[in-house]
Point group: C3
Chain length 154, copies 3
């Protein structure tokens, strides 16, 4: 059991096995030392959670939980990219977070903090990343948040 | 004639010569073994096609064709980056697809599949990429889809 | 004083010291020779400028100035990543510009030109980059433009 696995256990976070891709794309691709993940969504145990516009049906607090779930699914993809060994993560390099807000929504950073905070809780300083938080006009299946990542691995 | 050129001929796909840039940016930049393309749009023979909001004036089926056209224009940029030799493509690493949907649009994956499917038809396993599919609030010239790519080349 | 510093002085552009991060993310992360910046916003001397929807409260001309301000803040992050020496910039590789437009907005390229033009004014041919210009559905604090960058450095 690795250090990151121990940390996840302390935090009570289960990292799921990523679902097999259902189309002509993959959950992650590695090139050199960088892993690029697909946009991760608010799916848990095969069910889509947190559906609705942020600022209308979904509050900022709920949306931050949605962002945390996206981050857990990013870690799941990265774990697979590292053959199961999350101690090979050198750095969470970049997150781009898309928030499915109403047009007048303005609090994207508070939403994406749900993902950023988790990355630092799990990976410490290696979890500190560059980040963009923007508003999408719409998102697949009307989910509240979608996040993609670039991760440096050994 | 390379293997990928033969495959494109089999598929009946013509790869255009990219238009010369009209502003202070380029269609692609290479750094190390990675080519980053500019966001590619639904232009064919100098004409903009597929203009309108997806879910209103543009159907999912039409938008998937728009995504395929963006993918053809991505391949055109990558071909130039490879001095005309598409056999130097090692991997389509990442696609980010922006769909100009109405706010309640939810079927972004079906739209961007038009690009993902083409990449795998043309490049086989090397065409399998990580992908994000998100909704834009608006797009240039009111086109239905814009897609950017990261490609590993030799 | 480096060549790029001299060029900035000629252009009358002050590069600010980036504000310390206020959350669990950073203004930039370097991996290999690439610097990924966080999405940069329209902040100057701690104040947020250019707030409003482009095509409604904000004109294209104002939005292009907003994009220029984002580009100045990108250069500020990159300067820090280069220990203060902007001559170590090898290439502005990629910009992704998000425009907070009304749904019918169509002139994203003219907005993001405000950033692209500055990069070429400052860095010359090294400033020529691949670029995506898309419409966000909303942006943090209702700013008009947010831009992120990938930069190759020595």
């Amino acid at each position: 059991m690795g250090q990151i696995d121990e940390r996840l256990a302390e935090l009570g976070i289960d990292i799921p096995t990523p679902a097999a891709p259902v189309a002509n794309y993959l959950g992650w691709v590695r090139t050199g030392n960088l892993v690029f993940t697909a946009g991760q969504v608010t799916v848990k145990d095969g069910e889509f959670l947190y559906q609705g516009k942020v600022g209308a049906e979904i509050s900022v607090e709920e949306a931050a939980k949605a962002a945390k779930l996206c981050a857990i699914n990013i870690i799941a993809q990265v774990k697979q990219a590292c053959d199961g060994d999350l101690d090979r993560v050198k750095r969470i390099v970049k997150l781009v977070g898309f928030v499915n807000g109403v047009p007048e929504f303005t609090d994207h950073p508070a939403v994406i903090n749900g993902a950023s905070d988790l990355m630092v809780e799990v990976f410490g300083d290696k979890g500190k990343h560059a980040r963009s938080a923007v508003g999408a006009g719409s998102l697949p299946i009307n989910i509240a948040v979608e996040i993609e990542a670039i991760v440096e691995v050994a």
